[in-house]
Symmetry: C3
Subunit: 341 residues, 3 copies
């Protein structure tokens, strides 16, 4: 497959920029290792010992939020029920493949905290805190953790930058890196984190993304928060025969996360675009005040955009939340929102 | 045509999710009936008698806005003049097909209030009012009326939900349903309504959509309000040989609605995306303050997004209003705005 | 090439609406002349003598900002270094073609002010000023200058309008036109200008666009302002074998403009979409308050949208600024932002 042809018609294949030579990328995990084989170590890479990374002191009153996260393969099923509950019909064909995920562990990666998931663990903090992500790569190729929104020095960026790459932008299989990010004033919000390594965007398309939520210091939490990634699993990343337009790793109502709330609760929803497409978020039976002051029930969310909304629940019943791009909706980008009276 | 192949390259065909079997959808109206043939009645469908639907009482000071609307076929011509006035050239080929429309009638569907149109009738209300849409389906397949923005209980949602479908989400040919929607505080704005039945999005792509405008109670109306749907007529919905990027059912300046105003008037424009594409709305010779406070003259409008703008007219002349996506503009998504001095 | 087929899959070709007959458009400059051959002069065209154009008096305290601009061909190289510094790899194939540019001259077009560039010259003004663009067309086909955002009467619109076209909407090779635009209250902002003539959008896709920046009267300027056009050079406009997703006329980090600032400076960035695609703007290591009040680091920018952001620089290092649509990023839509401590 040619480097220029990977993103094909309708996003059915995936661009992967890797030298001028032709590469094969049919979605099998082994490909990542093969693709990585020809990438030289960046010349200026400093291999600081993991333990030596300076740790930013949190602001007065803040705390250190330490996570132990590992990138690793996971056998993942996109449509576990094999049914589309919106259309009450069967979803045919294979939907299981070897994904990549960020998986949370106890300190020192001693034991996993639950199964590997797409998306990765939610990282929560308050303004003034410091986030420390102790990261280990147990995947087949170099990957990273690139955060949005929080403050980080350029060596904590988690981005591959060719010959200017820092250690955190090129974490090879078996290696570790300690990312330290500062939640200073002005970083409040919900943000994505994702791989931004030398094989970008292939590992991300296999599942390497998650959310960071930085709340203003001392602010009361919502009663319920929903984190909604609009993304896709495409043949070049899965080896499956078709595209799936997904929410949080799954496709079709009854498989995607069923969101829940009760009347009277304050509900926050946080929608993040995490593929090559533009989306609109629509929630049936509800509307909310946009940050600009208007009432809306449908908003545009582009690649890596993060959009947060809040409302007090007042409408019991069974509702759809979905992308209003019709072809995304009908290829799986929808789910149930169940409200108890 | 396979269920997965209906949305083709450039939106030239249309996805229609209907069981795992192959279906033909070349845009002929008969297809809808054929497609509907295999859809079973939802198991839990309650067939409440039309007359028994409880009617929400409007708030103190509010009124009931009752409409009698029928879904029906209409012979529709996309380019009546057969000319593109922007380029001063002929538009070749057929542009007439059998569309579907929401048509307004007098009480009891006794007599039509004018011809069938795309988009359907404008539904106007003030905060505190109740909207009642007495709906009858005289089309070839089950359709519904799904509103955005207003408040409705989940049985008034007008959405097909597989085995969870309520009566209002599956109105078969010849049947009626009474939708009751509440314009409570927080529903002010301009919103689309559209089919969301078991054949979604095919009936919508044939013309089943319209606008609701809920104004704050007692607020002075604009001197002029323009409602602008950006949508498309695609081969799978029309049987015609090409796509038309349309405004309010028509394509190309001189065919699309010619908007009008006079200097000194307060003008409201309400732009709604109603297809699979993202658009930007641009108006020549004018600019306006965005809800966020900035001056803009060009804004993104995604599928089912509704964007309202206002300005006091100060610039006489002949202007274009158009989608600034170049390929949409040149396939018809433009019109004249004529301002008298 | 058929008029309807010019915008092909993935934007690789370009729509050009020119009568019902078939046209060839392989990107060679000669094509424009050929395409223009069959366009008749608009019937109502008034050929006002250049010198007779009435000049709006600026408001009290305002000034006339006069520019002498010429549309002309320029030999343009999209990837001068022939390297992609993000991926540290070679960019193969030809990247040089005959573009079109708006080039600034001294009064009377006596001498060029530097080489021809894509984008064209930045036009700066304050509220209350009048902008005068003395325009001469030395390209191969009729082109115009259509501004966004500023106030202009309909004869100063620079748009081809079929039989309603004014002189400023059809400036033939060798002809001149004086555009006079009014920066009255409410025109503050950054706006694109671009060709909107009878061959739209082909000349724009060859490079005919630039920016206008109208600042509030007397407002202190930012220490640094960056103007960032997201656009593309496509085969139908270049004759080259592939698409390049570009920033300010160039593709790939190290070729696109390297933005610079120092810690402590107030930085303004102004992002404008100038092709058929939707984009998101992302800047590593930074975030800013959106006009709606939220902190963001990634925003959607559609065709002809203009988005301005500001922040005080606080983060030294080597950063990427890029479009977060992955396929655009990997086809060149990225650059370096270097911040000195």
């Amino acid at each position: 497959m040619d480097r220029r042809s990977l993103f094909g018609v309708g996003g059915l294949s995936l661009l992967c920029t890797l030298g001028g030579h032709r590469i094969a990328a049919d979605g099998d995990e082994a490909d990542l290792a093969k693709l990585a084989r020809d990438i030289p170590d960046p010349p200026g890479l400093r291999r600081a010992r993991f333990e030596q990374v300076a740790q930013t002191q949190p602001a007065v009153g803040g705390v250190v939020r330490e996570h132990w996260i590992q990138a690793e393969p996971v056998r993942w099923t996109i449509v576990p029920t094999r049914r589309d509950e919106m259309m009450d019909e069967r979803v045919r064909g294979r939907t299981t493949f070897r994904a990549l995920c960020y998986r949370e562990y106890t300190a020192g990666w001693a034991a996993p905290l639950g199964p590997g998931q797409v998306p990765g663990p939610l990282i929560k903090a308050e303004v003034g805190d410091t986030i420390v992500v102790n990261f280990r790569n147990k995947g087949p190729a170099p990957v990273t953790v690139h955060p949005h929104g929080v403050f980080y020095t350029s060596d904590m960026d988690g981005s591959y930058k060719g010959k200017y790459t820092d250690s955190g932008g090129f974490v090879k299989p078996g290696q570790r890196f300690r990312y330290v990010w500062d939640c200073r004033e002005g970083t409040e919000g919900v943000w994505p984190y994702h791989d931004h390594g030398p094989l970008d965007p292939l590992p991300l398309y296999k599942g390497l993304f998650g959310a960071i939520h930085v709340r203003p210091r001392g602010q009361r939490e919502n009663d319920v928060d929903h984190y909604i990634f609009f993304h896709s699993f495409i043949p070049a990343a899965t080896g499956l025969g078709r595209i799936f337009h997904c929410i949080n790793g799954r496709a079709y109502a009854g498989n995607t996360q069923t969101l829940r709330a009760r009347v009277g609760q304050r509900v926050g929803q946080h929608v993040i675009g995490m593929n090559n497409d533009f989306h609109t978020y629509h929630l049936h039976g509800h509307r909310w005040r946009d940050p600009s002051g208007r009432m809306v029930d449908n908003v545009t969310v582009g690649p890596a955009d993060a959009y947060s909304l809040e409302f007090v629940e007042d409408n019991p019943g069974r509702w759809f939340y979905h992308c209003h791009v019709f072809s995304h909706l009908h290829d799986g980008m929808t789910g149930w929102y169940l409200v108890e009276g």
